[in-house]
């Protein structure tokens, strides 16, 4: 039940040039054209979504011949009092916010670099894309090897450099596990952030830069006063998308830590998965899914409103 699945159904208005409409009801020929597109959307997006929301109001649980009854807001009441869920929510927010912020910072740096007229720029641009081409499970397995306490390349390197004196168990240490997976998250998501920002950078007008330079603006000043304002819409789009993706991240963390040690990396999605498929409380897990969607929408709404207001000002 991710946000991205719930793409809005195409509406009549989107169906381009509008001939004068007969009074009352939508244009019938437009409607008949829409149906083929609507059927899969309803079947594969809307129906599961509605079913998921319905489950959230029942006490559905795994088992054969088990009766399910409607419990209204019971699940949500339990959820409000479920300290562990909110703890996992906090971890999810720390994860999503820091991964998004770091992805943005690193992606911006890389995009600026790739926007320069470097030698072998084509090669650098291709290399920067590689993490994007890898499935999350493979990334998870690869980083698991990197972080391996005995055989991992990270410990070996740090030992050789004399930075650590004994091997660290990155993914099992209570303090290190979350930062360690955040680093992987940033690495994974950097390519798309970089590419989107790079595309934006290429649209920044050269004339403005030249004009600012003539007026004596330094590099930093030109970046903050010329580049950033022109990138604003791109930045808003990519950071909000990244935030939603990161909040709903599952495969990567499932492979790396399964939420351990002691729940230190148990993101809300992992928690809901455990609740549904390990312990079999489908209704309660659906309620969690709904709660996650509501909170993500709320955070996103606040963020977008602020950003758009600033853009107008």
């Amino acid at each position: 039940m991710t946000l991205t699945e719930a793409s809005p159904p195409p509406t009549g208005r989107a169906a381009a040039p509008r001939p004068p409409r007969p009074r009352g009801g939508p244009d019938r020929s437009a409607l008949s054209l829409m149906i083929p597109a609507l059927v899969p959307v309803v079947l594969f997006s809307v129906a599961p979504l509605v079913y998921g929301i319905y489950l959230a109001f029942t006490d559905a649980r795994a088992g054969i011949g088990i009766e399910t009854s409607f419990v209204f807001f019971d699940n949500f009441a339990h959820l409000l009092a479920d300290g562990e869920f909110w703890l996992s929510f906090r971890i999810g927010l720390i994860w999503a916010v820091s991964v998004t912020a770091l992805q943005f910072a690193a992606g911006m740096g890389l995009a600026l670099l790739l926007n320069q007229d470097l030698r072998l720029r084509w090669l650098a641009r291709t290399l920067a894309m590689i993490p994007w081409a890898m499935p999350p499970v493979i990334i998870g397995l690869m980083w698991k090897l990197v972080y391996h306490p005995e055989a991992g390349i990270l410990n070996a390197t740090l030992m050789d450099l004399g930075i650590i004196s004994e091997n660290l168990d990155w993914l099992n240490d209570f303090a290190l596990a979350l930062p360690a997976i955040i680093a992987v998250g940033v690495w994974t998501g950097m390519p798309q952030t970089t590419i989107v920002l790079l595309a934006g950078l290429q649209n920044v007008s050269k004339e403005l830069h030249e004009a600012a330079e003539m007026d004596g603006a330094g590099v930093w000043r030109r970046f903050t006063q010329v580049t950033l304002p022109q990138l604003r819409t791109v930045i808003i789009a990519i950071t909000s998308l990244n935030f939603v993706w990161n909040m709903n991240e599952f495969a990567l963390v499932y492979v790396l830590t399964q939420g351990g040690p002691g729940g230190q990396t148990r993101l809300p999605m992992l928690y809901a998965y455990e609740e549904a498929f390990r312990y079999g409380f489908f209704g309660y897990a659906s309620a969690m899914g709904v709660a996650i969607v509501i909170v993500v929408l709320a955070v996103l709404g606040l963020y977008l409103r602020r950003q758009l207001k600033e853009a107008e000002a």
Binding site: R28, I35, P36, P40, R61, G63, E84, P149, P261, R278
Partner: protein
């Protein structure tokens, strides 16, 4: 124009509907005509071979009710099975372990086999093993293989130190073990023992029976409460002492899972490693030439009793082949076949007849010591607790990790296991 569009719409809608139908009900053939699927979790080469050979033997003798071998993996089998059961398409014959069966039984996923097994099988397998699969009066599986917890030691180090080598008749007590561990430790160079404690809940519960620690009280009304008294604290406290008081156990092993400490063991960094009897296989196969090892019989506390978990074979409640599947399981559980499976997995058979087989009583690879340990196995109460799986992953695992990481005291450990545990138990009170 409109009619053409409408026609096309209808055609597309029909196509979409067709796809959906295709996806939802793949075939029109009756599932009762299809071969039985046997989901096997065997992973060691020998054991996979033994399983496949037995399936072939069965298929030759029973061409009218064939079995198809399906390879599964321990890593994610339970999540996978939940989806299969809920989707209504579970494998007919399911290989698993007894702690997982409790929650499956609670959800009515498994068939009660009490009426389908031949008397010869019922009497051949030990009662203690049957109790590990009898839940709420239902026999939800056939116990096949069992795994006592032992120590594997570097024989040269033991000899050099001149300590008494324990035997099945006169094993080490926990006190003796603690004292000898001090002798075997060389500060900065070698620890006496490596306890891989990352995934240790089942093992700690099984070992705690040494001091009568049962962790769960099951009332007459099936109400379950978690209790952590002196008996339950004994074993974990002793291990914690080795780690943080005596310094005889390697702290580096705390975050490791079962076979992780073996490279350090071969390198002489640990004099002993703790593991199940199957650890022998890895040691014989991987240890460098000239490495001498010895398996030590289970430690003794107030008794030598250990909790038994069994590998099991069950039949899905929804399987249309229940009786045939039960026959196939009975075939696999015949003494001579159990011997093959036990040898393949380096575990102990539950069949009393099989335990007498010469291959399993030879001194080679210390099968005799392993087999002798099977007498100590007793069913542990946690196998009857429906919420055990959630208690284990949500409460006990993190709490034990923190305790063995020396981040919380034993009182805090006990408090969490009990209080947080009872919250979990409350979720499973209604069936």
């Amino acid at each position: 124009m409109r009619t053409r569009a409408a026609k096309r719409t209808r055609a597309t809608a029909a196509a979409a509907l067709g796809t959906v139908l295709l996806l939802s009900g793949c075939s029109g053939t009756d599932p009762a005509d299809e071969p039985m699927r046997y989901l096997s979790l065997a992973w060691q080469t020998q054991s996979v071979e033994a399983n496949k050979r037995l399936v072939e033997e069965w298929n030759e003798a029973n061409p009218d009710r064939p079995v198809q071998y399906v390879q599964g993996s321990w890593d994610n089998v339970n999540d996978q099975l939940v989806t299969a059961f809920e989707g209504g398409d579970p494998p007919d014959i399911i290989h698993n372990e007894s702690p997982a069966l409790t929650s499956f039984q609670y959800r009515n996923y498994l068939a009660d086999l009490s009426g389908d097994l031949p008397e010869s099988l019922r009497s051949d397998i030990k009662d203690e093993a049957w109790q590990t699969v009898t839940i709420d009066g239902e026999v939800v599986g056939v116990p096949l293989l069992q795994e006592p917890q032992v120590l594997i030691a570097n024989a040269d180090i033991l000899k050099e130190a001149g300590v008494r080598i324990p035997t099945s008749e006169k094993p080490w007590t926990w006190d003796e073990f603690a004292e000898i561990s001090k002798e075997l430790t060389v500060p900065g160079e070698r620890h006496a023992v490596a306890w891989p404690l990352d995934n240790a809940v089942n093992r700690m519960l099984n070992l705690s029976l040494n001091y009568g620690g049962t962790f769960f009280d099951i009332g007459a009304d099936h109400k379950v409460t978690v209790k952590v008294g002196d008996e339950e604290r004994e074993v974990v406290r002793r291990i914690h002492d080795q780690l943080y008081k005596d310094g005889t156990a390697a702290r580096a092993a705390v975050g490791m899972t079962a076979s992780d400490p073996l490279p350090g063991f071969y390198a002489g960094k640990y004099a002993m490693v703790q593991g199940g009897v199957y650890t022998r296989q890895q040691v014989t196969e991987q240890a460098p030439d000239g490495f001498e090892w010895v398996m030590l019989p289970p430690l003794v506390g107030d008794s030598a009793a250990q909790g038994a978990t069994s590998q099991t074979l069950s039949v899905a409640a929804e399987s249309p082949h229940r009786e045939d599947a039960a026959d196939f399981i009975s075939f696999l559980a015949e003494p001579e076949n159990q011997v093959d499976l036990a040898l393949g997995d380096w575990l102990l058979p539950t069949s009393q007849e099989a335990l007498k087989a010469p291959e399993l009583t030879t001194a080679k690879n210390q099968w005799d010591v392993a087999t002798a340990a099977s007498d100590n196995l007793e069913p542990a109460p946690y196998l009857q607790v429906a919420g055990f799986d959630e208690w284990k992953t949500r409460v006990a695992q993190p709490a034990l990790q923190e305790y063995f990481g020396n981040r919380i005291s034993i009182d805090e450990l006990a408090r969490r296991l009990e209080e947080d545990g009872n919250v979990v138990m409350a979720r499973y009170e209604t069936k």
